[in-house]
Amino acid sequence: MNQADTAWMLIATALVLLMTPALAFFYGGLVRSKNALNTMMMSFISLGFVGVLWAVAGYSLAFAPGNNWIGDTSRLFLRGVGLEAQGTIPHYLFMCYQGTFAIITAALISGAIVERMRFSAYVVFITLWALLVYSPVAHWVWGGGWLADMGALDFAGGTVVHVNAGVAALVAAICVGRRSDYRSSGLAPHNVPFVLLGAGLLWFGWFGFNAGSALTASPSAGLAFTATFLAPMGTLVVWTLLDYTRSGRPTAVGAATGIVVGLVAITPAAGFVGPMSAIALGAIAAVPSYFALQWRAKTSLDDSLDVVAAHGVGGTVGALLTGVFAQKSLNGLADGLLFGNPAQLGIQATAVGAAIVYSGAVSFVLLKVIGLVIPLRVEAADESTGLDVTQHGEEAYVHGGGSSMQGA
């Protein structure tokens, strides 16, 4: 047991937990006010259902020894998880840290289907998804599974978290279908300051996500921290300049999105690349996500908050660039293309491909099966009224002293 590592991982875990409420604001600000609470609840609820199931079963499937494909049931209900050290920190704490990842990964998906998915169907979906998709994929990479064996580099979850969630988001957007007023009206964000608040808190929390993935208060954590610090700065600069070049007016939603894309892209690479590589990686990653987002908006795919462009594309680009910029002299594991090891790029591509296929297929089946029992969408009239009132019985903002209400 190392006390300094414990100190760092205590706060790192808290930081990652905070990312889920932060996501609620990032997403919640982007929707119309009649759906603000529903969108926020889609993040918050993951803290409940996915969190409890993680302790009960998810952790065991992801991190118990098992085989190359999945953990086993030896740690169901946290049997055998105690105060003893896992690595250099208390095993309990390790379990919590990993749980925060499952929670936010599931919540990320919601951005694709806000403003029309039925809340109960959504809750069932992400809960099962966390168990059946997240846990196995996490096992492949971090639990001693086949991708780890193969030498795939994924420092903090480019593949496990972002590609994984991005693909599920794509499938969900298709299965749930587009909003009935998609492309017919403006659909402008109702509260952009909330989007900025979300982005700011996400960045803050992401230091726990990436630098915490070192699991120690070590130079490796410092390296991952530095990459998490610099990469989004590079993305923000490029994103702003793209906005400026195209319209003369760099947007705040763009700045927030750019920051998140930079964070996504650096996630797999954080502890493996040097600081100048981090800036370059962040800067490069801005371009495909920027144009993916523009292009998507012209299609009929209503990935409402662009989870695919930000997390799917950003995560894929990050995972591949990890195979370009990785530097054995820094990480002790493997070099990337730029440092003479082109094979790494192939391994990275394989990992991404595996996540795409598995997450895509299982997400699709899950949604189809759930759809048999619970309609995935709300009624058309409820969609038009807004999901806050119809799914939660609340309005986000009430003015004039609630003068429209009377006790039942």
Binding site: K34, D181, S184, S185, G186, A381, S384, T385, V389, T390, H392, G393, E394, E395, S403, S404, M405, Q406, G407, A408
Partner: protein, 110 residues
């Protein structure tokens, strides 16, 4: 001239605007309102208590048109805003005696 005061569903404003533009109405003014009519309202739940929310969000579109165009404008609004469900709203026609353009200070003859 006539002021048409239309109370419509929030998601019908764009359609109403387009319809009015098509018939050549020169401008319009939109206000967020809450309203109550035949439509029942919904129950809200705060801290475990159910409340009856009787004033629902609507948008009010106001447009001043020449008397001769009033009928056409009313029909355009109705066509654009109708869903056939309870809660579609109303159009009220109110006489306007004068209209001035602030920019020029002139009486507006539409």
């Amino acid at each position: 001239m006539t002021l048409l005061k239309a109370i419509v569903r929030p998601d019908k404003v764009d359609a109403v605007k387009d319809a009015l533009e098509k018939i050549g109405a020169g401008g319009m003014t939109v206000t967020e309102v809450r309203g109550h009519g035949k439509q029942k309202g919904h129950t809200a739940i705060y801290r475990g208590q159910e409340y009856n929310v009787t004033l629902l969000p609507k948008m009010q579109v106001e447009v001043v048109v020449a008397d001769s165009e009033a009928d056409a404008a009313v029909q355009a609004i109705i066509r654009a805003a109708r869903t056939g469900e309870i809660g579609d709203g109303r159009v009220f026609a109110i006489p306007v005696t004068h209209s001035y353009k602030i920019r020029t200070g002139e009486l507006d003859t539409m």
